[in-house]
Assembly symmetry: C2
Homo-oligomer: 97 residues x 2
């Protein structure tokens, strides 16, 4: 994972509401959750929620998939895994800066 891509993902996760949101999605598994359910759980205005979801999507951490009237938000595990791998490589590598 490129450092700028990693920085972007870290930045978007680096907000309490978005991190909580993403955690909900991850714990929900590969099916994710509808926006409406996220809103009920997090109790924030829908416009604010939508804004945060856009941020997560812009980093590739979440994708949306419509089924009828409901939009499902699906966590992108590959992205998360890539990010973890990036941090771990930083931690363990002995390459020079």
């Amino acid at each position: 994972m490129d450092i700028d891509v990693a920085a972007k993902a870290l930045k978007e996760l680096g907000h309490p509401t978005r991190l909580t949101l993403f955690r909900c999605l991850v714990k929900a598994g590969h099916a994710g959750l509808p926006v409406g359910q996220l809103q009920e759980t997090l109790q924030i205005p829908n416009s604010t929620l939508s804004h945060h979801l856009s941020s997560l999507m812009s980093a590739g951490l979440v994708k949306q998939q419509r089924e009828g009237r409901v939009l499902h938000c699906i966590p992108q595990f590959d992205c998360l895994d890539g990010l973890v791998a990036f941090l771990q490589e930083e931690c363990c590598s002995d390459e020079k800066c």
Copy 2:
């Protein structure tokens, strides 16, 4: 690791300059690097560098230790490890949100 602490660390790592900076420190190992050397490597004004270092320190990702005229910046591996563990637990746990 508490979710707010994790969000804070993610946020501070979520900036290209700071992520680069932190990576330099991590790759330098437990002795870290002096501020001056970071400045030479990154080629940014010292005030800007100082600002970013403060951010990383505010998240507990870096600590400083003075030796004579030189301030060493030391990466806090525990904090990084904690962060990685947090992300991994998110990824693998099947607790409910």
